[in-house]
């Protein structure tokens, strides 16, 4: 009965657990990661605010790589299939993950969706997370890399307000840079300085899905990740 006063009730036993609360998700993520590795698929977790341009960047990526890479996507959305439909129209093999009220994807949702998408012959699988700069950062999905989109209209201090998300990013895409001429008050240098305060190795590419600026640099980054997946550190991943 007495667990609070320190009277030493012999019936109350302390059990040291010292375990990550999300270890269940992490096990599922490792399982997904093994599947991706086994099939040589580069899986990228694409995150960012609603409206940062996730779908638009994936559309222009698919158009630029048409005939060169097979691309698939899982699109997390609270309520609609709109993103998956747009991705399909751009030539991406896409499947929606409708999360209902959930603000993020988790590894089990991704695993379930993989059973409904022919993905194993893909070169790239983009997992377009729910638009949100908080919750998706917490859940490993089994991806090889995290890409976070930050549109220039969102404010230069966004990385400082959402340090967890940007800290987890392997690459930041600073999007909608075609709008810069209309926004004299926005400085890409200040955005990059904010990123350096939350990312130890800040890597950012300025990109515009509309004008195509930065697209080559982004594709180069993907090609480098692709080589890392087929030859690199994931060799150490063990099968669950």
């Amino acid at each position: 009965m007495c667990g609070t006063c320190g009277c030493g009730d012999p019936n109350v036993v302390p059990v040291d657990v010292h375990e990550r609360i999300l270890s269940g998700n992490e096990r599922q993520a490792e399982h997904n990661r093994y599947h991706f590795f086994e099939s040589g698929v580069l899986a990228v977790n694409v995150m960012g605010s609603p409206g940062a341009g996730k779908t638009a960047v994936l559309e222009s990526t698919a158009l630029a790589l048409a005939g060169r890479r097979r691309i698939g996507a899982l699109a997390g959305d609270l309520a609609t299939d709109n993103d998956a439909n747009r991705l399909e129209a751009a030539g991406i093999r896409a499947r929606s993950i409708t999360t209902g009220s959930a603000c993020h994807l988790d590894a089990a949702m991704v695993h379930h969706a993989l059973h409904h998408l022919a993905w194993s012959d893909l070169d790239y699988l983009f997992i377009e997370n729910v638009g949100n700069l908080v919750c998706p950062a917490v859940y490993d999905l089994g991806q090889a890399a995290n890409v976070v989109l930050l549109s220039i209209t969102e404010g230069e201090d966004k990385p400082l307000k959402y340090p967890v998300m940007f800290n987890k990013a392997d690459l930041v895409l600073i999007t909608k840079v075609d709008l810069l001429p209309h926004m004299a008050e926005i400085s890409v240098e200040r955005i990059r300085a904010s990123l350096a305060r939350v990312m130890p190795d800040p890597r950012a590419i300025e990109i515009s899905a509309r004008s195509g600026q930065g697209l080559e640099a982004w594709l180069d980054w993907l090609f480098r990740q692709e080589r890392a997946v087929t030859q690199g550190p994931l060799v150490a991943v063990a099968k669950e």
Binding site: T4, V13, V17, I21, L22, V138, N167, P200
Partner: protein, 113 residues
């Protein structure tokens, strides 16, 4: 608000531990939450109070110890001060998060018959 799904995972873990020891009640749950874990301690606490009703944790308080983020240099190991770029003030190396991203179940105190 992913704190509810964190609490759900926490409760499953606590219930499994309690069942494994034939506990009759859980008296206290202790967790460690890092400043850069993406989990808000207050929201976690609220979510826990909602979830614990009619469970084996019904009267167990949740102790949350908040862990501040600590960075050190990947190259020379010195602590990297906060507030500026995440680069070592001594050698210029990139910082590495030493602690502050944990979401840990530390301890459960349970009543056994």
């Amino acid at each position: 608000m992913h704190e509810y799904s964190i609490v759900q995972a926490l409760m499953e873990r606590v219930e499994a531990e309690a069942a494994a020891r034939n506990a009759t009640a859980v008296e206290r749950v202790v967790v460690r939450i890092g400043e850069l874990s993406g989990v808000e301690p207050e929201l976690l606490h609220t979510a826990y109070l909602t979830f614990r009703e009619r469970t084996i944790c019904a009267r167990a308080p949740l102790d949350i110890s908040a862990v501040p983020a600590v960075w050190d240099c990947r190259d020379c190991g010195r602590t990297v001060e906060r507030g500026g770029a995440l680069r070592c003030q001594s050698c210029g190396g990139a910082a590495r998060l030493r602690e502050g991203d944990e979401i840990l179940l530390e301890r459960i105190e349970m009543e056994v018959a």
